[in-house]
């Protein structure tokens, strides 16, 4: 592919570099793990932000570009991600990227030059709306934690927010899975945080009390035989006795992965879990939920007061709990949701009017 270094070729190529065929009808969202974090919750929140900005910009598609430079694969705060293991960390999160609303294309760029070209053309030549801003990307600038400011503002302006979809290509799978294995069941996805059982325990005071949870599951098995629980999350994060409960399915123990779990969460009848990445997924879908043990310091970032029952954009079946959960509380919430689901047949009033061509695709 080498070219003769003639003046003519140089000039011609230079002129060509000033032209582009980059489509301007899409929102260019760049997730650069070189300075952004490998975190499920952050990623999902960003995706909703992308969708809000895309709708504001008047475009119908999001083109997602994920940049990972193997030589510099992570932010300094995540030094455990190295050139030798970045693929594992990326692939652990990749299904979440496919949850982006209005997703048209997904690009993985391991070439720094390509990323630079992409940015330059989008910012300078095509004028495609993009996130982050060009200077923020160049300067590798982002603030954590990511808040809901833009999302709340969008909701206030439009009365809805774009919702996360099941990972692209997995909705049909999730529906077929439910039809085959849990057809007449009230499906409850659960994710009690249990960092102490993982290889890298962190902030373990936020871990859920698994004794309470397993007592809840056991009682639910007797009192609500139609309920089937789906344990979501890492293979490490549950105790062995959980697999003995007949009313619990553990997708990871069947060889399924994050993509399957996120899809099942979106079609579940209820989500119960600790504030975490999976809770973020539930937050931005229509699935009823009870999210437990929300940290008080997050309240201002979410644009709510400590003790608020709902997010501004949530519906009445989506509840927040600012303290630890107990078996009794979980049972009461489950029973309440069971009653509501039996009596309610109305569509969710907060369904987002995403263009039909792109809804849940």
């Amino acid at each position: 592919m080498k070219k003769l270094l003639t003046a003519r070729n140089v000039l011609r190529d230079y002129k060509r570099t000033q032209q582009s065929v980059a489509p301007a009808d899409g929102f260019l969202a760049i997730v650069d793990f070189g300075y952004q974090h490998y975190a499920l919750g952050d990623l999902l929140t960003k995706e909703v932000n992308f969708a809000c900005q895309a709708i504001e910009a008047g475009v119908e598609h999001i083109d997602l570009a994920v940049a990972i430079d193997p030589a510099r694969p992570s932010a300094s705060a995540q030094g455990f991600v190295t050139p030798e293991n970045y693929q594992t960390h990326f692939l652990n999160l990749a299904p979440a990227l496919l949850c982006t609303p209005m997703l048209r294309s997904f690009r993985l760029l391991r070439d720094g030059g390509m990323t630079a070209s992409l940015l330059r053309e989008a910012a300078r030549d095509t004028g495609a709306p993009m996130w982050p801003a060009y200077e923020d990307q160049i300067l590798r600038r982002i603030t954590y934690p990511l808040g809901h400011d833009a999302i709340n503002a969008f909701h206030e302006k439009h009365g809805f927010i774009p919702k996360l979809q099941p990972p692209r290509g997995y909705l049909a799978w999730a529906e077929a899975y439910r039809a085959r294995f849990h057809e007449d069941k009230f499906l409850v996805s659960i994710n009690p945080r249990q960092s102490r059982l993982t290889a890298n325990p962190a902030v373990i005071y936020r871990d859920a009390d698994l004794d309470e949870w397993y007592e809840f599951i056991g009682v639910a098995g007797k009192e609500f035989p139609d309920v089937q629980f789906l344990q979501l999350g890492g293979f490490d994060e549950w105790r062995r006795e959980l697999s003995d409960f007949p009313n619990v399915t553990i997708p990871r123990a069947e060889g399924l992965g994050l993509a399957h779990e996120l899809a099942l969460l979106t079609i579940s009848d209820l989500f119960l879990g600790t504030s975490s990445g999976f809770a973020t997924m539930a937050t931005f879908t229509d699935t009823p939920y009870l999210i437990c043990d929300i940290e008080h310091f997050f309240a201002p970032f979410a644009g709510i007061d400590v003790g608020a029952e709902h997010y501004p954009f949530a519906h009445d079946k989506q509840l927040l709990l600012w303290g630890k959960e107990s078996a009794d509380l979980l049972l009461a919430h489950l029973e309440s949701n069971l009653e509501k689901s039996r009596s309610s047949t109305a569509a969710d009033a907060n369904a987002s009017p995403i263009p039909a061509a792109m809804s849940l695709r």
């Binding site: 693929q87 692939l91 989008a122 294995f181």
Partner: protein, 736 residues
Amino acid sequence: MIAGIRRTCRFAHLIFCVAFTRHRGGWWESPSQTLLSLIARYSYARFDSARYRRIYSRTTALLKYREIVHSDWVNFVASAGRNDLDRARPGLSRWQQHMRTHHTEIPETFAVHGNILISDPDTPTMDLLAETVTSGNFNNLSFYWESPDEIDPAQLILTKSEQARVLADRAASIFDLVETDIDSITELERDGLSYLGAQIPYDSVRQVNRYAKTVAPKFTLVAVSLDTDELGFCDAALEEWLPILESVKKDYPRVAFVLLEPTTRENRSPGTFARAGVLPLRGRGHGPLESLAMAKVADLFVGNMEPYGYLAAAAKLPGIYINPVSGDHHNPEHLQWFLNDASLGDPASIISDILRQMGTGKAPDGFAEPARADRSPPRPVPVPARRKIPGPADKWYVPPDKRDTVTLYVDVFGHCNLRCPSCPVGNWNQADSKAFASGLIDEETLVSVLEKATAETNVSSVGLFNWTEPLLNPRAPELIEVVKSFGLSCSISSNLNQLRDPERLLQSGLDWMRVSLSGFHQETYVKGHRGGDIEKVKQNMRRLADARDATGATTDIEVFYHKYLDNVDDEADMRAFAEDLGFRFVSAWAYLMPVEKMLTVAGDNEHGAPLSDTDRELIGRLALDPLKALDVTRKTETTDCNLYDFLTIDIRGDLYLCCASSGSPKNRLGSYLDMGIAEIREKQRSHNLCGPCMAQGLPALYGHSDPEFDEIGEQALRAYGSDTRMRVHETAPSGQ
């Protein structure tokens, strides 16, 4: 001013030279690239200044130009859909191989920028993404969820520079991932696709390594890849394969089958998985990358070519590779069979043959889980050394495709503790002391016999018994282990009047055991098993059942009931007793042995042996009247005898005519260790007993192969009254 111009020109010249500096590493890592990037960032930070804006603009243009000039990319467009995923995954690697082979204008170091059109919106793409990210040389990868009809592949690029990298040969750069019309596909399937798992993450390799060490240490790992359904589970295919794997597991207890695809089957029947030795890798929290890693590090591979078979073939794993595009073929060097579904035949025997040739670990099965949690753990048993695989250098070596298939019956003890009237041990001329050797077989003799047998024949199984009682040899479990160390199936038949250590016996890896008896109550039992004690037998049966439960042994235990006219009532009681202990129960018509005695009954005194009063008494008890049975057997002309394939060897290593003839020296063919199989066959066929035996059709009697025998037996039972019938041939001498 002139100084300023000179500085600017020198600076520009410096930039120009730096921009075209050649280097060894990736162009994007070069010092010149880094320098230009730094300049761009520095100047952007000072964007308020017009001078820095100009510097920035020109620097980024140079960066772009370097990208055009230095990059060795190929831009390709491909498509994949939901039903093609398993083919699409190795398809990308196959395309790479094809490009390297047929487009030599592309340098070795070319990187690929792939554009994949997902034609079916319900295509789950994560496995495809995972494998393409970890395969070699896919630098940038893009997925598009738009119909190919709506988008011109040339537009599937965001930058103009990418457009320049589409090959001049557009047909080569736009292809269907499941396309099979690619040259050299046979070589690929023989050599495998190394690209597919070229960059499996270290963490996945670590997990698989740990898995192999902790879940199945010192086991032979067989990676199994089966067809999946629309949900990605292999449950349906596993239903078909579980019996196959279980049958292999019986012969090779130290084999573990690692399932590479997800399954929900284990939750519903964990015992089935344990018996078959199946370990679901994905059900232990591992993903597709760990499956890729396992396909490389396992000892064998059994399953579909796509997607994991390619990787296993590249790692030169022995095994069965199903549905190769290139058709059925065999790679004997690597013990690989490439077979389409229609040609698969008996996969269990292929796998067993490969394991035997590999000389897998034959130690007792320590994998089977105890039936109850409160069982005491099995006693540790030393693992015997791996046996030498016979090769062309061995004296008796016969190439595998030219071998006969035989079953060995090797006495491990010279005599029996009972004197059953239907057996030559009980009814042969006791003055003929040479009929039965006394003593025990020594281990070296057994090893020599097995080494020779495995070199010149295909040994289907080894029975450590003929006319004698194997459990009288105190080292019976060790001898069973010797047989198992050759990778052979081992069986014994016993009257169970003696049972030293049932747990040790079952832990030896014994595959099949028969308990031979003829009554439930002593007065009935002792008629057919003279000298035996049925209460002792029943006690030993209970001990055997307890030992089976304690050790979790998978030995197939059968209770074999000899049916006479006068023990029918006891049969029902014994059946209930045996089945309650979890044993199989089989009954069959008793008959007179050996062949020589039956020939006398048939009237052939020349070749027959004299009948005694005891023989006549036995004949009177037989429900299957021997004369009526002979009427049946004589109807069909017998010119060959299947008993030739059952080689009977005594404790000295001497080979006898067959398992139906007596141990008389007349029936001794010679030392088994001194005769090749061809010589053995010649001696069998020329023996003077075979002609008369086949003339009477006796092989059919000993095979119980004619349904008329049941009619005869049932009729006799119905007619049986208070009188005992006795029918003897009038010319038979008495007093024997």
